[in-house]
Symmetry: C2
Subunit: 258 residues, 2 copies
DNA sequence: CGACCAGTTTGATATATATCAAGATTCATG
DNA sequence: CATGAATCTTGATATATATCAAACTGGTCG
């Protein structure tokens, strides 16, 4: 709440990411003070321990829709905690094909893909006006050697990402188009609920094409599935405004399809 | 090489996994001595540091084809390093659908999915006679607080798993059947090569149905794709024996399909 | 050795989703 | 407020893969 804006020219983003130069701003933010404490990194930390985290995450950057937080191939420096807004991550194949691998929202940590090679393995793109807290990974590792509960939390975050990805594999590998969309909507619903937002009424931040890429479908198929759910009274859609009218039936729909 | 067989009845596997009672044996194994040092955990460790690892990974267990290393829902205790043989991991949906999420081979670490909830999120099943080194996670975490290079290595292993999964998503979400199989074969080839085995001639440890589950295809489609590659002179298949006759063309095939 | 059984191959047909195309709606901008 | 561009919806058709079915293969075991 009491974030202090500041400028630190010595920490300008890399020159190859020109958009960032325009849209980035920097803000001091204190983990010990942040209203995302439950969602984000500092769990089970004493106030004193949380202040140690403050030391390493004082930079906040903002991005506009379409801005890249990082690109595939960028040198790895930091993880990012999403403080406001949302992002998509996508992997690109040489031949130009792209696959959206996830949508990330407030309180989620992004950038874990880069640890293994020291270079990012995917792009992260803002879906709306967004802010992230930068967490220099070296400092995070050093601190997690001191604070076992932070260490465990970091491990849990990475493990959760693995489990999530495996569930997407299940979805892509064995579900039909409408089931995939139902699972997607239910998952969004849960994530909004976990953030104190409505689990039934929300605004999609991504296009039909982006949803389709994530779900392994063409945008027309996504659109048809939305329309079909609507005509069955399961949901109400107006472009990107969603109302999950009959969430139980939507849940029951998944798996019913043999 | 100088592993000493021993029995420790007090450490019998859990009673709900009867098969293990039959097929498990326990062997002392020393990381500092292991010929998998490069592939597995102990990287960049001094001899003294590697001996610390010995302390936590002295149990080796064996499994026969079809045995479960762990099941979805099992309480999380340990990670496992595959010392010999191979495993598959699979997630099961309530409705009975299953999806193979990966095939793991010698030197790879398995069980990372369980950290986030303290319970395993998938099954791990031996594909052949196999041995694993058990790595109690609490001890591994404690040691990695002392040894920064072990800590970093653990992070890299988890990150690598995330990247791998994202590449499977790309495969499942945007590639055609034959491309998926080509990617699968190329990936196996690379992994065999990294272990000093032939990158072109190998024996598949999994059935057509398991390959199909992993690739989001039916077994008949997998079989047809094998036959088609063979009739094009890219590979030679005899049931589970594979010879990648023209690996460059196989690589070029991926992506050619728009 | 022979019979069986699980796994594999191959063929014919069905079907879900992609593709192509045209309008309709929403959004950004001057 | 009007214009154009992007996004979304819907329809007609094409196509890749699933499904169903039958024959073949290889290994196991009495």
């Amino acid at each position: 709440m009491t974030n202090i804006r500041r400028d630190s020219p010595s920490l300008l983003p890399k020159a190859d990411n020109v958009q960032q130069l325009v849209s980035n701003s920097r803000l001091k933010i204190a983990c010990s003070n942040c209203n995302l404490r439950e969602l984000c990194l500092p769990v089970n930390l004493s106030m004193g321990e949380a202040r140690l985290l403050d030391e390493i995450s004082q930079l906040k950057r903002s991005y506009g829709r379409g801005d890249y937080l990082y690109r595939s191939g960028d040198k790895f420096q930091s993880l990012y905690a999403i403080h406001r807004g949302s992002f998509k991550t996508q992997v690109l194949h040489e031949d130009g094909r792209e696959q959206v691998t996830g949508f990330q929202m407030i309180g989620e940590i992004i950038g874990l893909d880069a640890i293994c090679t020291d270079h990012h393995a995917c792009d992260a793109v803002a879906l709306e006006n967004s802010e992230v807290c930068e967490l220099p990974f070296n400092k995070l590792e050093a601190l997690s050697r001191e604070l076992p509960s932070l260490q465990r939390h970091l491990h849990k975050i990475m493990s959760r990402e693995i489990v999530r990805d495996q569930n997407v594999m299940l979805l892509l590998g064995s579900m039909r188009a409408e089931e995939r969309l139902a699972v997607f909507l239910i998952s969004l619903s849960q994530r909004f609920a976990a953030r104190g937002l409505s689990p039934t009424q929300f605004h999609l931040r991504m296009s039909r094409q982006e949803i389709g890429s994530y779900l392994g479908l063409k945008l027309e198929t996504v659109s048809r599935a939305f329309s079909h759910f609507q005509s069955n009274g399961l949901i109400s859609v107006h472009t990107r405004s969603i109302d999950l009218i009959d969430l139980p039936s939507l849940r029951a729909f998944v798996g019913k399809q043999q």
